[in-house]
């Protein structure tokens, strides 16, 4: 019943990029090298191989460039715009100024420069995106590996729970969680993280089952490797590439959800975020007065970052599984 459920692995997959498992296997012609050095060399070689294939994907390169740009912007935001951009009282301009030389994107209803807020907001979007996707993928990986490794009624119960999370409307559940808990950035991260893990759990479980059916796992067991050894030393390194792709795709989804929650007023009202800027814009009547210059930039920024992560994730996926036929 399980083998047909293993979607992403062809019967004999190419060597996974993190080949620590392979390093444990005895090498045919032993050069005068320690096992650790050998492992390092193999890992480096597979990273190079990965990059060589990744860079043939134009979309992936574009996404990577965009991400580097945004990441640099977020890291150096205090230097670029100063750390007092969020202050409502010490605002440099007057309310709702149209774009000008001084304020290239205009000002909000408190007189703060929209360009500065936009730069500052990237920090929240990236933080929430990374942490929420990290949390979601961590839960998914843990559940997937445990369910795939142990099997039996235990796995059946876990996968029932997963299935049931899968049919839950994610956004509604996240909204409800964010409503029920207190307003803070951590609530948002938690709400996104705990509602979006089931896809990862399914994929990881399938991959775990595929990995565990290979002979070297039997060898590890015969040499006395326990559950923990097999799961952390053999299965985990082999599902990591898949997890990486899932994380990248998950980040763009998390960023979109964060913006949605902030727009609904469920984010932290004190922190400046792109979704929160959109909510401010709507409350300031930007729609009815036609202030499109207030509304457009945060949305473009959200879309840009989400797209960049999606492009990277798709490129990683198609490097790992060329059968998907993602266009280059």
């Amino acid at each position: 019943m399980t083998l047909e459920k293993t979607p992403p692995t062809p019967p004999t997959p190419p060597t996974p990029p993190t080949a620590s498992a392979a390093a444990a296997a005895p090498s045919a012609a032993p050069p005068p090298q320690s096992a650790a050095a050998l492992a390092r060399a193999r890992r480096r070689a597979s990273a190079v191989r990965f990059w060589r294939r990744y860079r043939t994907h134009r979309g992936g390169l574009f996404g990577l460039a965009g991400l580097s740009l945004i990441a640099l912007m977020a890291l150096f935001a205090p230097l670029l715009v100063g750390s007092d951009v969020q202050s409502v009282t010490a605002a440099p301009g007057t309310a709702l100024e149209a774009p000008s030389a001084r304020f290239p994107l205009g000002t909000d209803q408190f007189g703060r420069s929209l360009l500065s807020l936009l730069v500052w907001g990237s920090r929240v979007s990236l933080t929430v995106g990374l942490l929420a996707a990290g949390l979601s993928v961590a839960i998914g990986t843990l559940v997937g590996i445990v369910a795939g490794h142990y099997g039996g009624w235990f796995a059946t119960v876990i996968m029932r729970v997963t299935d049931w999370f899968l049919v839950m409307p994610t956004l509604v559940l996240a909204i409800v969680l964010a409503t029920v808990m207190s307003r803070s950035i951590w609530t948002v991260i938690l709400a996104i993280g705990v509602t979006s893990w089931p896809t990862t759990a399914r994929l990881v479980r399938a991959q775990t089952i595929a990995v565990e059916s290979r002979p070297y796992i039997e060898r590890a067991r015969a040499l006395g490797g326990g559950h923990r050894h097999v799961m952390t030393r053999h299965v985990l390194p082999n599902v990591m590439p898949l997890v990486l792709a899932q994380t990248t795709l998950g980040i763009s989804a998390a960023i979109l959800t964060e913006a949605t929650l902030a727009f609904l007023g469920l984010g932290d009202p004190i922190i400046v975020s792109w979704g929160g800027m959109l909510q401010d814009a709507r409350e300031a009547g930007a729609v009815s007065s036609g202030h499109w210059w207030y509304l457009a930039p945060p949305g473009i920024a959200i879309a840009f970052v989400a797209l960049a992560f999606t492009l990277c994730g798709r490129a990683v996926e198609s490097v790992l599984n060329p059968k998907l036929g993602v266009s280059r």
């Binding site: 047909e4 459920k5 979607p7 992403p8 299935d163 049931w164 899968l166 049919v167 839950m168 409307p169 994610t170 956004l171 509604v172 559940l173 909204i175 409800v176 969680l177 409503t179 029920v180 207190s182 089931p198 896809t199 399914r202 994929l203 899932q246 795709l249 989804a253 979109l256 959800t257 913006a259 949605t260 727009f263 609904l264 007023g265 979704g275 959109l278 709507r282 930007a286 729609v287 009815s288 036609g290 499109w292 509304l295 457009a296 949305g299 959200i302 879309a303 840009f304 989400a306 797209l307 999606t310 492009l311 994730g313 798709r314 599984n321 059968k323 998907l324 036929g325 266009s327 280059r328």
Partner: protein, 358 residues
Amino acid sequence: MSGASTPGVVREAAGGPLGTEPSGRTARAASGTRAAYPLYVAGKLGGAAVSLFAVLVTSFFLFRILPGDPVKAMTHGTPTTAEQLATLRRQFGLDLPVWQQFTDYCAKALTGDLGMSYQFHAPVGELIAEKLPATLLLTGVAVLIYSTLGLWLGTRSAWRNGSLGDRLNTGVALTLWSVPAFWLGLLLIIFFAVGIGPIPGMFPTGGMSSGDSTGFGQVLDVAHHMVLPVITLVAVGYAQTLLVMRSSLLDEMGGDYLTTARAKGLRDDLVRRRHAVPNALLPTVTMVFINLGHVAAGSILVETVFSWPGLGGLFYQALSVPDLPLVQGLFVVFAGAMILMNLLADLLYPLLDPRVGR
């Protein structure tokens, strides 16, 4: 074979903001032993019932972990005596033990009684029934359009895989997919409803009708109000159908039977229409159903932005209070819609693909 055609679906769908994994079900169905269709149906019905029960459990306990007293929150700002609070508590059954509240809640929910709304002082079930048609109309039309569009563009894209058209197609779809729906809606309102510069306001800014017309005029009026929300939903949603269709058709394109069809001398578009597309359609059909289940919940933002008088708008109103019985009731309805659509897809799938579930 159906197992082999699904990995693309999983991966593609997994990336969506509201993505689920349609193939988990299909793979499971395929892995079933050679059970007869009635047995398969019974199994799926049982699974759906369990899921529905789980939804009731969650909806009940999720709102019980709320910090603070719902009665206090309800009477917030108005001076109330201790007796009044006690009366209210009794009225909402909050003085009973939790397990008794829970059994009462389940019994009532199964008969369609979802409690009273704090905000509207009306039964939640009635409020939902009143708003349901508007949501069904909006999302039904949107799903119909974007599924058709996605299927058509996905087919074209896969058939000319790697061409400029394909890259353009996928690129545009991915870009629109990354756009927050509510933002797109707001921009559309500014440009096409409020009007800006030389562009006149052509469409209404929100609502479902202007109210005074009857008969055919009313139909036209509603259609006029639907244009912008539907465009928003379609723009953001069609990418998923496109990507799933594209990857499942790509999976089929290596098939020997296509070579055979070509060797018979069939024209290219006949090979595509009669041989490749019907096979690639299977995962996509599942996708359409999943989307139908999702879209009711997914249109919360779009309905809010366009003040569309549907369930999504109601959910937003309930959230801002927060009107817990209403939020709870809508949560059950949204999750129930997902379960129903999943069930329908499950039941339909073996009829479309005889290899599944028999």
